[in-house]
């Protein structure tokens, strides 16, 4: 019977791997996957790198913000486990933006005022709504507040199983995808051809190249660094509670392991009598 079962399992596995292998081979021929990067926030103890997030914010502000909204409150930028700007810096930064007040003034006029840390970062001025942006690019540039969580590439069997396991966990697929897109403009004669974008035809023309942003901390101003820093920043923007989550998780895990151990020995002791 065991031999029968093994045979059945083996034949099913073979059929699957054949079918899977064929489809993967076909896809991979023209659609490479974004390379996996080394992120400071990966793994059980990984946290954000403050200097990297600040550089990433600089890239966002000087390049991406021309077209992409980032709907997070200014005050989030003073998150000590995130970019960690001081509250004075955030106040000054917010004041450089003009924000439309939610309520009209006492004459009934909608008015603009300088931003405060409590405000959500306003949309890019050049594109007051998605339609205006779509008219210029054919497709509206997405809001970047959840971008790193909203992008993926297929990992395929069996990799997606390993991605969930302790020690092997791979939860940075979106970060790698964003990084891949920024470095994927590999055909200089076609600014809308991207190696990692599904189908290669991307609406966003190449947004950034070497030297476009001047870093002040001595990090080389290369495309690789821009892509990595802004991807890390966008990961923080999409998942700002990651550091708190992992810290709390560690405490919860230690507690649960001790609890499970105590229950195990109690259960063993009580059942000894009846076995």
């Amino acid at each position: 019977m065991i031999r029968l079962r093994t045979a059945a399992l083996a034949s099913i596995a073979l059929a699957l791997s054949l079918a899977g292998g064929l489809s993967i081979a076909q896809e991979e021929a023209n659609q490479p996957k974004p390379p996996r990067q080394d992120w400071s926030f990966a793994g059980m103890f990984g946290m954000y790198d403050q200097a990297q997030l600040q550089r990433g914010f600089q890239v966002y502000r000087e390049v991406c913000a021309t077209c992409h909204a980032l709907s997070i409150p200014f005050r989030a930028l003073s998150d000590p486990s995130g970019p960690g700007y001081s509250s004075d810096q955030v106040k000054a930064l917010a004041a450089t933006y003009q924000v439309t007040n939610a309520e009209p003034n006492d004459k009934g006029e909608i008015f603009k005022r300088p931003g405060t840390p409590a405000d959500t970062m306003p949309r890019p001025e050049s594109y007051p709504n998605d339609q205006a942006a779509a008219a210029a690019f054919g497709k509206a540039p997405p809001d970047m507040n959840l971008l790193a969580k909203a992008r993926k590439y297929e990992r395929g069997f069996p990799w997606f199983v390993f991605d969930a396991l302790p020690g092997l966990a791979y939860q940075e697929i979106g970060s790698d995808y964003v990084d891949g897109i920024l470095t994927g403009y590999t055909k200089p004669d076609d600014p809308q051809w991207n190696l990692y974008y599904p189908g290669h035809k991307i609406a966003m023309p190449q947004p950034i190249a070497d030297g476009a942003v001047k870093y002040t901390d001595g990090t080389p101003p290369t495309l690789e660094n821009y892509a990595k820093d802004v991807s890390a920043f966008l990961t923080w923007a999409a998942e700002p509670n990651l550091p708190e989550r992992k810290k709390m998780g560690l405490g919860v895990m230690i507690f649960l392991f001790v609890l499970a151990g105590l229950f195990f020995f109690t259960k063993k002791r009580v059942w000894e009598a009846v076995h």
């Binding site: 059929a15 069997f157 509670n241 649960l256």
Partner: protein, 394 residues
């Protein structure tokens, strides 16, 4: 107090139960967690097409204190609820827990399972991400396959001519209602259980309460809390370290009726049924097969007439049981893939296998299988496993 004492303290349980019997307690726990976290989430959630996405992704996830924790508990809790339910159901199939005198218990379980699927599906629509909208569209469109009244029925379900704001609001209302209906059925399920008593790995009924059973407390209680603490480790791993693993990235994109995700997939726990739906070339027949795949579960007590309950003593049934498990997993994987000709063929073979297990293998084996001899009693089965030296020296 008397009820609690007789049901959860003095209540006798077979002494040979293994850890597969801990999932009843785990499932009760998961239901309570889902209801409590759900009630808190509903305090901050705005059930309207324009606000739903932001109320979850901006308010709950960023601004509400520990909102991210409650939400990750709820979304991952749904997955673990289903995982526990599947283990619980496979356990029932393996050990014949659906056989007389437990038919009613089993049918109540199938009803709970169906309610869970409806609740989970509507819950998945609430974040109003692009996969929420696509999923709601695919599933509610199934009713249009019904001849004559299908389209009218779909419009009535949607509250309009397509899935939209009114659909979201009514799904929210039902998503809040159904868990309490589930809780009521769980109460009936536990009641039915306590009338027949538990099945056990050897599938022989309790003959002598003294020798065959132990008291629920402390024996089952401690075994259950130990199993539950292991389950919580898995749950905590999902919540704190891989909270987005089971969520689709497309659901972090706001719903837009003009843009559909390139590849629409349901949550993992519905994938096998999705594969069955897609395996059938005719839409109406596909819908019929989808529902038949669930209804057939309720008929199991009458499809499998073998007097021997446990697969432990039914070698041929045991073999087909494991083939069936593999078929379910393969169907789940197929449901997640973009269908190609080859994959559709495999899905069709597996669909035939799925129904074949219930409609052909079960009835045939009922009469043809040569089963192994059953132990005379539970106590004897327990003692047979022990080396002679450990036998109680009276």
């Amino acid at each position: 107090m008397g009820l609690v004492h007789s049901s959860f303290v003095a209540y006798p349980i077979p002494r040979n139960l293994n850890y597969m019997w801990a999932f009843g307690a785990i499932l009760s726990f998961m239901l309570i967690v889902q209801i409590l976290t759900g009630v808190v989430l509903a305090m901050h959630y705005a059930p309207s097409a324009s606000e739903a996405f932001g109320s979850i992704n901006n308010d709950i996830m960023r601004n509400v204190n520990y909102g991210w924790l409650i939400r990750y508990m709820h979304t991952n809790g749904a997955s673990l609820f289903f995982l526990a339910a599947y283990i619980h159901m496979f356990r029932g199939l393996y050990y014949g827990s659906f056989k007389p005198p437990r038919e009613l218990l089993w049918i109540l379980g199938v009803i709970i399972y169906f309610l869970m699927m409806a609740t989970a599906f509507m819950g998945y629509v609430l974040p109003w991400g692009s996969m929420s909208l696509a999923g709601a569209t695919v599933i509610t469109n199934l009713v249009t396959a019904i001849p004559l009244v299908g389209t009218g029925l779909a419009h009535w379900l949607w509250g309009g001519f397509a899935v939209g704001g009114p659909t979201l609001t009514r799904f929210f209302s039902l998503h809040y209602l159904l868990p309490f209906v589930i809780a009521a059925f769980v109460a009936l399920h536990v009641w039915a259980l306590h009338i027949t008593g538990q099945n056990n790995p050897d599938g022989v009924e309790v003959k002598n309460v003294e020798r065959d059973t132990v008291a629920f407390t402390p024996y089952a209680t401690l075994k259950d809390v130990f199993a539950l603490s292991l389950w919580l480790i898995l749950y905590a791993w999902l919540i704190f370290y891989i909270p987005n693993y089971l969520l689709d990235a497309d659901n972090s994109i706001p719903a837009n009726p003009l843009v559909t995700p390139s590849h629409v997939v349901p949550e993992w726990y519905l994938l096998p049924f999705y594969a069955i739906l897609r395996a059938i070339p005719n839409k109406l027949m596909g819908v019929v097969a989808l529902f038949a795949a669930i209804v057939v579960l309720a008929l199991v007590p009458w499809l499998d007439r073998s007097p021997v309950k446990s697969a432990k003593y039914r070698p041929t049934y045991r073999f087909f049981f494991w083939v069936f498990v593999v078929i379910c997993i393969v169907l789940g994987w197929l449901g997640s893939q973009v269908p190609t000709e080859g994959l559709t063929l495999i899905a069709r073979i597996c669909t035939v296998g799925y129904f074949g297990f219930f409609l052909v293998v079960m009835p045939l084996l009922s009469f043809t299988e040569k089963t192994k001899p059953l132990p005379a009693s539970i106590a004897e089965a327990v003692l047979a496993k022990k080396p002679p030296i450990a036998a109680p020296a009276e």
